[in-house]
Symmetry: C2
Subunit: 485 residues, 2 copies
């Protein structure tokens, strides 16, 4: 690929020069999303939305397979309902958008646009639950939510975003805890299998807990700038909401009890994660299982003599691939050169490019080029379907392995606060360190280094004889620190 | 079925006694939806939402097959944008919910929650379109919208509802008109094929036109109370929005021109249509293609001796049907009698009930009972899959045929206003009559009879020598009148 061909597509800001600008460039130039005229609200463009549809469908299958049903609850939460759970409203009030008028009339009570739906759903569940026979309630909702954010970034933090939120009710604490961890595991497996995004699953500290929850768990991914992204959360809500909304049931022992609840969610933020885990200086790289187009066929027409034959062979390749279930785009635009198209589809992260030129027509073959390492391979037409399907599987696996390697290589251990500071200012990444469990230590480290405790990992949080970085006391847990989005 | 068994399920209000109450009873008792504490907002329960998912997916396939891509635009429309198209804002302002505060701050400009998205999408398209090469733009959005309705009814008219809205841009009027009619036809075919709901497709008169459109088309269905339901609309927006939002392109002739636009939508209202086209005094009847459960298997356990064998045979029937791709529910609730279950699943409209009792186990068979006419049939286990699949096809066809017959039988022709009034007060239904094209006639008939012109049918609107019902002038069109939801 020559320099002049590269110039067909406007250059992206190199990651090394300005990572934040690189991110925005990729999101916009790969046509995933763009800002709108409304502060902090984005337009998700067709290519970005197709990616979201693939994520959504893959996760929705898992949510249903674990026994949950989808439903839909109102967009509005009356102010009085939102205020019932004190820590919940304290957490969300600063970022709520308020509806005050319907038509020409002033409303008697302000309505919040849901920042999350615990309050509105809790008030409904109170009517649905009477007996232990009504439990568990296992419901999920796909919806838009609004949080009036001061500083926004496409996909990562926007005033409106799309997400799913599961809301369940159970007989006992143990059942609720089991559900909380089950859905955390669904998220972990989904992120790794579908997004090729390895994550660390663990519990949040008290200061990072969801407003109103007993316990919050999260999956944390590592972006290519070695910062952490919280990619999904699962909360054991205990009986906090049940008590204020009156969600009670008559138990087997004939006693009236409050239900135990969970909630859990992932959002369009995951798309930002995919961009930052897999992208490079040439743009996006999409894991094959989620890519809107898994392959793009580009005819290389050179002169009128062979054009018809090239187009025919290209069209045949498209048909073969679609017949094999490969999501295939045919780029037969007549006014653009192949070099421009190569760059464009690399920028948009299509895993495989299939080139068909006059020579290939002669030899009854096609060129199959991989986005992740540019490796090219000549494939006979009759073997095309099989080769492409195999390549897509291989690429998915290689992308996960590369991301796992990256996460491993950039996970450090610090025994002293000095070491910790050197790592956080130098190589960055995840840092395993001892923590005595105190909010003071956590706050001081955050203040001084901008690193936060991402989670107390579900696996491997034994203190291992470590001491707290600040207090020097024996560590209660080995925890994971990082700077985060 | 004995009376006492019937009583297990609370009785529905008979249609003949109070149709409106029957409708609400069915929607609530069949567990489709319920009111929330927020005025006019409904909770779509899992069973209703599963029905919506089936509708959505079946329509989404058609929208994509006709070349459209999904995208997502902001929930908010700044007041200044909404006001740009004068007739548009006049049509929607009375029912807009306004956001005035974000967090603690008063917003500089009020934001409307989208009642429809022409304004916000138009402002975005203005940035996307530059050249004729950018056209056509063929985009669809699945979203929630809010219209602050004074009088609401579950699914039919709610303050918040779910819908899809297509928004397209074209080079010429002709292309826009072609698109408008293409999507109208997609809706017609979808309603008939999937919902077993026959419709009349036609143009709306000026007074019933979408606020801001050049021309509006609709599909009109007949409910079982012989009133009309507008089930979907498709608008040719002309250049009205293009001019106020500045959506311009450089055409092949190097001249700058405004695009021609369309928009089209159907909503959760369709669920209300399904209820009122197919329901009866025993509840809901769902067309098999859309039913969340196409079959429910009910074990008839009588005494402990045969219980295990009955449950095992029932479970086997479930596996066989699921293996054949039939959406099957296994009702193995232990605390309810079969009679109660029969009534419940009839009320919830499941097309086929599969009963398995001790006698059936002996004979290696099952009883297959149809919801639409209660006909029962004994089927050998080895033929079960084939028989059920065939029955589901047959029921879908029979439901459509019955609805078509009903629509035909309740479509009348009136040559004089006297005849017209007799029909509208008596048998009701659709009335074909002459119309001179004047708004005066239309308004007078609406005022005096509550009947409106539902549409000028695409097929069969030749005046046929008819005269206008009121003015007596020669008719311009033969149009379709009815009272409507």
């Amino acid at each position: 690929m020559t320099k002049s061909e590269k110039e067909y597509v406007r250059e992206l800001t190199p990651m090394s020069q300005d990572y934040a600008q690189w991110y925005v460039d990729v999101v916009r130039k790969a046509d995933l999303a763009d800002y709108s005229t409304i502060r902090g609200c984005m337009v998700i463009k067709p290519y970005g939305y197709a990616l979201w549809e693939n994520l959504r469908d893959a996760l929705d299958r898992r949510i249903k397979a674990t026994g949950h049903l989808n439903a839909y609850f109102p967009l509005f939460v009356p102010e009085s309902l939102l205020k019932l759970e004190a820590s919940h409203v304290a957490g969300f009030a600063p970022e709520v958008a308020w509806v005050t008028h319907g038509g020409e009339e002033k409303l008697e009570e302000r309505l919040a646009i849901r920042p999350t739906s615990e309050a509105i759903i809790g008030s409904v569940y109170a009517k649905w639950v009477q007996s232990y026979r009504d439990l568990p309630i296992l419901i999920n909702q796909w919806a838009n939510v609004v949080r009036w954010e001061k500083r926004t970034r496409l996909f990562l933090r926007t005033s409106e975003f799309l997400w799913q939120e599961g809301h369940t009710c159970h007989r006992t604490y143990e059942e609720a805890q089991e559900e909380t961890l089950r859905m955390l595991e669904v998220y972990r497996e989904f992120a790794e299998t579908e997004l090729a995004m390895p994550v660390v699953a663990g519990a949040k500290t008290e200061s990072e807990r969801f407003a109103g929850a007993l316990e919050t768990f999260a999956i944390e991914a590592m972006m290519s700038d070695r910062q952490a992204l919280q990619a999904g959360t699962s909360h054991n809500l205990g009986q906090n909401f049940a008590k204020v909304f009156g969600i009670k049931f008559l138990d087997v022992d004939n006693e009236e009890k409050y239900v135990w609840q969970t909630s859990w969610g992932v959002s369009t933020r995951l798309i930002g994660g995919v961009v930052m885990v897999h992208g490079d200086d040439d743009g996006l790289q999409l894991p094959p299982r989620m890519a809107p187009y898994q392959a793009v066929v580009v005819p290389i027409t050179m002169g009128e003599k062979t054009k018809a034959a090239v187009l025919e062979a290209s069209r045949k390749a498209v048909d073969i691939l679609r017949g094999a279930g490969v999501r295939t785009h045919f780029d037969d635009r007549d006014n653009l050169k192949p070099g421009f198209k190569f760059n464009e589809w690399e920028m948009r992260g299509v895993p495989l490019r299939i080139e068909v030129g006059p020579k290939d027509v002669e030899k009854d073959q096609a060129v199959v080029a991989r986005r992740i390492d540019r490796k090219k391979q000549f494939v006979k037409t009759e073997e095309l379907a099989q080769a492409v399907v195999a390549q897509l599987d291989a690429i998915q696996r290689e992308m996960l392995e590369a991301a796992q390697r990256f996460l491993r290589e950039h996970t450090h251990r610090a025994k002293t606060y000095e070491e910790f500071k050197e790592i956080i200012e130098g190589p960055k990444g995840f840092i395993e360190a001892g923590w005595d469990g105190s909010a003071e230590t956590e706050a001081q480290i955050k203040e001084e280094t901008k690193a936060t405790i991402r989670c107390i990992p579900l696996q491997g949080s034994e203190p291992d004889g470590l001491v707290d970085l600040v207090s020097g006391k024996p560590a209660k847990h080995k925890v994971l620190f990082a700077r985060a989005y």
